[in-house]
């Protein structure tokens, strides 16, 4: 054992004091519900400062081992764990942040709304005083070469930047052991190289012990000192210098599906002729044509504001029968959106999308206007997130869903389904519940389900992500067989092996975003914190209830209106804020309708007394009106700070609530994506059938819940890796001051209550 870093007292992040020696003995992990353990009696010693590359076929427990080393194995899963793991002689979580973990999916570990605050998350958890945070955050961001302002919103970062942000968040806690779980698997080549360069620099400078899990070894071989290979049963089967292990076991590893450098790319599996019949279009005929297409996407945030971005700007794309088109470009360049536009699955703001006349039902050439069955017959789409689009309870039924919706002959569809499932290595799972398959298996299942009715156009979003060499061959074999049968294929991809095989490649650039207009002046109430705004809204409830008579209610409402006008004034320099009145009226409209309906039912079914009805309506308006004015100015990000620091609510539930609030805007996207997947599979809701609409709403709600629970589980792992599990007493990045404006707004909101009491 190295003398340095072996005691908790020596600050491991100190220059020269680097530790990070890992000892694993007898580690066994069996999640509940599995017969066989994922890791079985594993022994491993990693000396301080070593760089380990950990590989193995899908399902060999690589990611599981990383989570075990980080001490977060049971953060989001439950099972039988035995054996021991120590880092410098201590359990991995003895010092929060001693072990840094970066997860595969960019953004899955993002906790906060801004870059600076996200990096500071671990510092908050370990109760670092606020005044020391900025310098440590700056240092960590500089180490990963992120040079944007610290108040940049995290959702505006590209995938590669989000991975570097996650790395910075780990580095801020001065880890001695750094764990990277396929950090570049979901990135384009440029971003992947940038992330690898950052990791290389940081590990070199800080002499961190590092374990990288990757299934594409090539780019990491020069980085690593040691290569560890796990087999499917979770046992260590090879251990040594990367070159040595690859020389000895290289071809065996490739045969198991691992992407070994130097071994030529696999060939697509040949699909027996006869699986697919002849296509509807002649070779090279344009199946769908997107001309000069522009798509804007708007994100609606919690406080009702919308942020529009330009997703696709004046792009052209043709999908030709019998050809594969690869759409490439950095993340954020609009590949997925352009693909969706091609199939009429998103609203386009400018340009034309037209299908070939022979595909157009009833002469309607714009796919956006087709009904769900017509769309499914011609087009298919494999989304990147295939898990949430599963609709059936067996793998075979899942594959047959679209075939049944479009009325394919059942025997023919079944024969083709079996052939496809066998090819994709899913044949033995035909009667399994598709929701219990692994992510890679679900992606392959989605591919089979998309092509079984032989659509004229196949769209696939990153179809080869996470596939090993064997399944890669099967997926590409099916794609090329469909193409050879005369379908048009469009693939978005970061995978060079896919691009090389494509007939045509279209490169997209990130569209230039319109510049931000000058910041308008702020209303007076915008200067208040969230607690005073909510308190002001709350005071309206007793004001409404206590007003004894409708004349008093009218006086209360008049007082509120006068205060609202003052509160919305925006004195000062700069452009005038727009739409203040409209925003209040829009928010008030439902309240007005509610007031009218209360008045109506009070009058009609009650005393038939107009004065009583008017009183009831005014009461509702008094209760709602201040909320319509004040609540739009509540900043959800600041709410957590104030609840914890001002009201002294327990820190961990508040942080968890803030993390959920800052993800809410993504739920709408999930909902839209599942709706899209159902539509293109022929089972979307049609207004003709109320039952189908109800079934759709149920399926979408369940799908949204499942996805948000998965996000919660991933975030739990990321947060625990940054010291959240013990953060009962923590510090806060942002202060939560109670200003004079807060007192003023509360006093003002007491005025209508006073009027009600005096009246």
């Amino acid at each position: 054992m190295t003398p340095a870093g072996s005691r908790a007292g020596s600050p491991a992040g100190q220059p020269g004091g680097h530790g990070g020696r890992v000892e694993v003995s007898g580690l066994t992990w069996r999640p509940y519900g599995r017969r066989e353990p994922i890791l079985a009696d594993l022994d491993l010693v990693i000396p301080a400062g070593q760089r380990v590359l950990l590989v193995g076929p899908s399902g060999s427990g690589k990611s599981t081992l990383l989570r075990a080393l980080a001490g977060v194995l049971q953060a989001a899963d439950s099972g039988d764990l035995s054996g021991s793991i120590t880092v410098d002689g201590q359990p991995p979580h003895a010092r929060a942040g001693a072990v840094g973990l970066v997860l595969q999916e960019p953004g899955s570990g993002v906790v906060a709304a801004t870059v600076g605050r996200d990096v500071a998350f671990g510092l908050e958890n370990t109760a670092v005083p606020r005044e020391l945070m900025p310098s440590r955050v700056r240092t960590a961001l500089a180490a990963v070469r992120l040079d944007m302002p610290q108040d940049t919103p995290t959702h505006a970062l590209s995938g590669g930047e989000q991975q570097r942000l996650a790395l910075a968040g780990a580095l801020a806690l001065e880890p001695t052991l750094l764990l990277l779980d396929e950090p570049t698997a979901m990135l384009d080549p440029g971003n992947a190289a940038a992330v690898r360069a950052c990791v290389g620099e940081v590990v070199e400078q800080q002499r961190l012990t590092t374990v990288v899990v990757e299934h594409r070894l090539g780019p990491w071989v020069d980085f690593a000192d040691r290569l560890l290979v796990l087999d499917r049963a979770g046992r260590l089967v090879a251990d040594g210098s990367p070159r040595g292990v690859l020389a000895e076991h290289g071809s065996a590893l490739a045969d198991q599906g691992i992407w070994v450098p130097g071994v030529p790319d696999p060939q697509p599996t040949s699909v027996p002729s006869g699986v697919f019949g002849g296509g509807p279009l002649g070779a090279n005929v344009v199946a769908v044509d997107a001309a000069d297409v522009t798509v804007r996407r708007s994100v609606r945030t919690l406080n009702g504001a919308t942020h529009a971005t330009l997703a696709v700007s004046h792009q052209w794309l043709q999908a030709r029968a019998g050809q594969t088109t690869a759409l490439v470009g950095p993340s954020g360049s609009g590949k997925s959106t352009l693909m969706l536009a091609l199939a009429g699955l998103v609203e386009i703001d400018d340009g034309v999308v037209r299908a070939h006349p022979s595909l157009a039902p009833h002469g309607e050439r714009s796919p956006r206007n087709w009904d769900t069955v017509d769309l499914a017959r011609a087009f298919a789409w494999v989304p990147q997130w295939s898990s949430s689009t599963i609709v059936a309870r067996s793998v075979l039924d899942e594959v047959l869903t679209t075939a049944r919706a479009v009325g394919l002959v059942e025997t023919e569809a079944r024969a083709r389904s079996s052939a496809l499932l066998d090819l994709l290595g899913l044949g033995h799972l035909a009667h399994a519940d598709p929701r219990h398959l692994s992510g890679g298996e679900q992606r392959r299942l989605a591919m089979a389900a998309a092509v079984v009715h032989q659509p004229a156009l196949l769209l696939a979003d990153e179809a080869t992500v996470g596939q090993d060499r064997l399944t890669w061959s099967a997926v590409m074999g099916i794609v090329e067989a469909l193409r050879d049968a005369g379908s048009a294929v469009v693939l978005t991809t970061h995978d060079d092996a896919v691009v090389t095989r494509a007939d045509r490649t279209v490169v997209l650039e990130r569209p230039a975003q319109p510049g931000h207009p000058a910041q308008p002046r702020r209303s007076l109430v915008a200067r208040c914190g969230p607690l005073s705004l909510l308190a002001g809204s709350a005071l309206a409830v007793p004001a409404g209830v206590l007003a004894p008579h409708w004349t008093t209610s009218l006086a209360v409402l008049a007082t509120q209106a006068a205060l609202a006008v003052i509160g919305l004034l925006a004195p000062g320099e700069g452009p005038r804020p727009r739409g203040r009145l409209t925003r209040v009226l829009v928010r008030l409209l439902p309240g007005v309708i509610g007031a009218a309906s209360v008045a109506w039912s009070t009058w009609l079914f009650g005393t038939r007394d107009l004065e009583v009805a008017a009183g009831a309506a005014l009461r509702v308006l008094i209760i709602v009106f201040p909320s319509a004015v004040l609540i739009p100015f509540v900043d959800p990000d600041a709410l957590g700070d104030h609840l914890a620091q001002r009201l002294r609510l327990p820190a961990r539930p508040v942080v968890a609530s803030a993390a959920a609030l800052q993800r809410v805007h993504t739920f709408g996207d999930i909902w839209a994506e599942i709706a899209r997947a159902r539509r293109v599979r022929g089972i979307g809701a049609t207004p003709r059938s109320p039952r189908a609409v109800l079934a759709e709403v149920g399926a979408l709600t369940l799908g949204m819940l499942v996805r948000s629970l998965q996000a919660a589980a991933n975030l739990a792992v990321a947060m625990d890796a940054r010291g959240f599990s013990t953060a009962y007493r923590r510090t806060w990045w942002a202060p939560a001051p109670w200003r004079r404006a807060d007192t003023v707004v509360v006093v003002c909101c007491l005025l209508p209550l006073g009027v009600a009491l005096l009246g």
């Binding site: 519900g33 009650g606 009106f625 968890a656 975030l715």
Partner: protein
């Protein structure tokens, strides 16, 4: 856990798997699951707030207190939160967060939405507390759905239905309680089971129950 073969009510109760000890030892994943569930319900609540008035008005044209039936879906979050995490406070936190999320983009009721969330959450929480955080079957869920209603109904008496006769007010309370038991209680129980069998609750007692069920 019981060794007898005759299924009794108490035995079925003890068949619920409790949260890991200590009950107040909230794991990070417990907290995040509750807050994410709450936020997702909040989005759904907001959407329901946009469309509920059509069926609501139709029902109140028959008999005004029947409007309570369309109020029951707003009681779901507390029931589901309690059923999933099974720790003290889960039902309350889930319902309150759902109310908060549905309030921020703007609803008909303004801040009243938040007060309603607290009252409904307290009701559902009370049900799980009465059962000692040890029973999470369909009957417990129905109780939670039912108890989520009374405080809310009384609050509405004083804000919206002040001018109704006492008969109608009582009828409103009873109808909200009954539809809470069915729509939020039984509905919430079914939803929790669906989430568990979708594999989304593996780290939680309902996920474990679903696995045991499959294993049989």
């Amino acid at each position: 856990m019981s060794t007898t073969n005759t299924p009794t009510l108490t035995e079925r109760r003890s068949a619920s798997i409790r949260a890991s000890r200590p009950l107040m030892g909230w794991r990070t994943v417990d907290l995040l699951t509750i807050t994410f569930l709450g936020a997702a319900f909040g989005v759904a609540y907001w959407a329901w707030g946009q469309v509920y008035s059509a069926p609501g008005d139709a029902l109140s044209a028959l008999f005004p207190p029947l409007a309570a039936v369309v109020g029951a879906p707003w009681l779901l979050a507390g029931v589901v939160g309690g059923l999933v995490v099974r720790r003290p406070g889960a039902a309350l936190l889930c319902e309150v967060l759902a109310a908060l999320v549905s309030m921020l983009p703007g609803t008909k009721w303004g801040f009243s939405t938040f007060i309603a969330g607290v009252l409904q959450g307290l009701g559902a929480e009370a049900a799980f507390a009465i059962l000692g955080y040890g029973a999470f079957g369909i009957a417990a869920a129905a109780l939670a759905g039912a108890l989520a209603a009374p405080l809310e109904a009384v609050y509405e008496w004083f804000t919206y239905w002040m001018d109704w006769s006492w008969g109608w007010k009582i009828a409103y309370l009873l109808i909200l309680t009954a539809s809470g038991a069915v729509i939020a209680g039984v509905g919430g129980w079914l939803l929790t089971r669906a989430l568990a069998s979708a594999g989304a609750l593996n780290a939680f007692p309902p996920g474990q129950e679903a696995r045991d069920h499959r294993a049989v």
